[in-house]
């Protein structure tokens, strides 16, 4: 394994609440190499989004830190593009203009006007959204908007692509379709990706490594699982591949045997409650509240 590209060292995250500090994360150590696809999985409210926001620079770790290519991360920046759960496109801009806003900002100096235009169209083509350039986000479906969100992130040429449950709000068919697109794009561009997910199948299918987090408070990395399935991967042929099944079972056993949902019986897991730290996390976690829309339990049943 080559020298690490992105490194989180001994990260602790505490939020101030009325009852004193709330420790959300403790001792997070994570090394990611270039081109690796890492999924973060864990129960709702365990602080996955917090980890992502620290890497994005939207939150500052109270102890420890994040280093990308030898530079410490303490502010947000386009080299760590984020795909948010709810696409977060500017509703008053068209599909094209949304990507343009990012490209304009990042490549204002390094690209000519024509090059920028071509680059915008190239990225929209990559996600198959070049047919709706002049549509506003309100006029296209959620899946399409999420594609545009991905195109916008890719258009920044990020060294790390951060995805916060990118497909969580989509229906199963659209999700499968977008997963396949993402898999192909990631393979073509060899981009480093950190993705938060609730979906065990999604994690196994897409990732090189699954990072499983323990329950909060003071959540940390419980287990890591390297997925050594050959690429390109095909969801249909993988479905009863013995290795695939074994990986999936490993994740499920972590989530439902070793880390049972806090304060719940096994048959009522993954209820969208127990967002203990949610109020303390403030505005930086757009996904709290929706986190448990897709229940892995239901998906394997």
């Amino acid at each position: 394994m080559s020298k690490s590209h992105l490194e989180l060292t001994n990260v602790q995250m505490a939020f101030d609440t009325k009852e004193g500090p709330f420790i959300a994360l403790e001792n997070i150590d994570l090394k990611i190499r270039k081109g690796e696809f890492v999924s973060l999985i864990g129960h709702s409210g365990c602080g996955k989004s917090t980890v992502l926001n620290i890497v994005a620079g939207l939150l500052q770790a109270t102890r420890g830190g994040c280093v990308l290519d030898g530079h410490e991360v303490n502010t947000p920046g386009p080299e760590r593009a984020v795909v948010f759960q709810n696409h977060s496109l500017m509703p008053w801009l068209t599909v094209y203009e949304n990507v343009e806003l990012a490209v304009q900002q990042v490549f204002r100096k390094s690209m000519s006007k024509a090059e920028r235009k071509e680059w915008i169209l190239h990225n929209l083509k990559l996600v198959n959204m070049d047919h709706a350039l002049d549509k506003r986000p309100g006029e296209i479906s959620g899946g399409m908007a999420q594609r545009v969100g991905i195109a916008r992130a890719l258009a920044m040429k990020p060294s790390v692509l951060l995805m916060d449950e990118p497909f969580g709000a989509l229906d199963a068919l659209t999700r499968a379709h977008l997963q396949d697109s993402l898999m192909k794009i990631q393979q073509d561009l060899n981009s480093t990706v950190i993705m938060i997910t609730h979906d065990v199948d999604e994690a196994v299918l897409l990732s090189d490594r699954i990072v499983m987090m323990t329950n909060g408070p003071a959540a940390t990395i419980g287990e890591e699982l390297y997925i050594e399935l050959p690429r390109p991967r095909n969801r249909v042929t993988l479905a009863d591949h013995p290795e695939y099944v074994r990986y999936r079972q490993a994740v499920l056993s972590f989530l439902y045997e070793k880390q049972r949902f806090p304060g719940k019986g096994e048959d009522e897991q993954e209820e969208p409650t127990a967002e203990a730290e949610a109020p303390a996390q403030g505005d930086n976690l757009p996904d709290v509240g929706n986190e448990s829309e897709e229940s892995p339990v239901r998906r394997i049943a």
Binding site: L58, P76, G77, P78
Partner: protein, 331 residues
């Protein structure tokens, strides 16, 4: 195949006709009928009640005017305006002729061109009022939108000015007016004034009273930008100005426009009161003069003004709504 193409060409040719008849046919007609019927019933019932109730109210200037008298006065006011305009045109031609004569006799003579000195009519007053209200409203917008953006962006600044806004917001225009009058008289001193003092007084009063809704709505809109979009802006490292121009402002346009509409409504309401008290030309002065006149027709003429004020206020709101639909992305 032939029948198919035949019917096709037929429908092509008659499509416009069908579209027309569709509009006039059963369902649509019933729909438009329903849409017009109830408001019409409302207006007719109101007119009937007014007609019956008005003569019961006796005042020192005679009975309260009913719809018929008001209609009559509307015609009369229009007639006066027409006559006045004819006289003005006559005045201008006479003046031109006279000046030409003077110049023919002595090419070096200085000719004077005077404005027609007649009193402004009801219609003139309406336009004066519209001019004043727009001036006051535009000034209020120029102040309130940028200030609202600053308040919305900066929590500390917001906390500092919030009590002031809460205190000044409910102040009646009548309370401001004497102060504004005195300040304008004291500060606006010029031999060749561009504006009348009374115009400035009513305009500033309108501004002071109407800027609050825009200010508050702008600041709320700015501070309520979707946090996800703020994160996008942070990830993109947008500069402060780009952030305001590309994210904050467009995002709060719907809220700003809601504020502007309320502000314009208040501006129009305040203006009438300001004109009455400041004796600046306009509808308010018209109402006040008629009241002071105390003629037998005064009440009817005031009632005409009341209806005109209401109707113009309604039109102003509609115009704002149209602009909002053009500008705001969520409409």
């Amino acid at each position: 195949m032939t029948t198919l193409s035949h019917t096709d060409s037929l429908s092509q040719g008659q499509r416009w006709l069908r579209a027309l008849t569709d509009k006039l046919s059963g369902v649509n007609l019933a729909e438009t009928g329903r849409q017009l019927l109830l408001p019409a019933i409302g207006i007719i019932l109101f007119l009937g009640f007014w007609h019956i109730a008005a003569p019961q109210v006796q005042t020192s200037l005679g009975a309260f005017p009913g719809p018929a008298q008001v209609l009559e006065q509307t015609g009369r006011l229009w007639q006066e305006h027409d006559n006045q305009r004819d006289r003005a045109a006559q005045f201008v031609t006479m003046q031109e002729e006279r000046n030409e004569r003077i110049l023919a006799e002595n090419p070096d003579a200085e000719v004077k061109i005077r404005d027609y000195p007649g009193a402004p009519t009801f219609i003139d007053q309406i336009f004066t009022s519209l001019g004043t209200v727009l001036a006051g409203f535009v000034l209020a917008t120029i102040i309130a939108v940028p200030l609202g953006i600053i308040i919305g962006l900066n929590r500390h600044f917001s906390a500092a000015v919030n009590p002031l806004i809460q205190i000044f917001k409910p102040v009646s225009p009548l309370a401001w007016l004497p102060l504004v009058t005195m300040v304008v008289s004291a500060t606006y001193v010029s031999d060749d004034p561009m504006f009348e003092k009374s115009f400035l007084t009513s305009m500033i009063t309108v501004t002071l009273c109407s800027l609050w809704p825009t200010l508050i709505n702008t600041s709320v809109g700015v501070s309520a930008v979707n946090p996800d979009l703020l994160n996008v802006s942070k990830v993109l490292r947008l500069s402060f100005w780009t952030h305001v121009r590309k994210v904050v402002l467009p995002s709060s346009v719907p809220m700003i426009f809601t504020g502007l509409r309320v502000s314009l409504g208040i501006a129009w309401m305040v203006l009438i009161a300001a004109e009455m008290l400041a004796q600046s030309p306009g509808l308010g002065k018209f109402v006040w003069d008629e009241f002071q006149n105390g003629g037998s027709e005064s009440l009817s003429r005031i009632m005409v003004a009341v209806l005109a004020i209401g109707f113009i206020g309604f039109l102003l709101d509609r115009i704002m709504l149209l602009i909002q639909k053009k500008v705001a992305w969520n409409e």
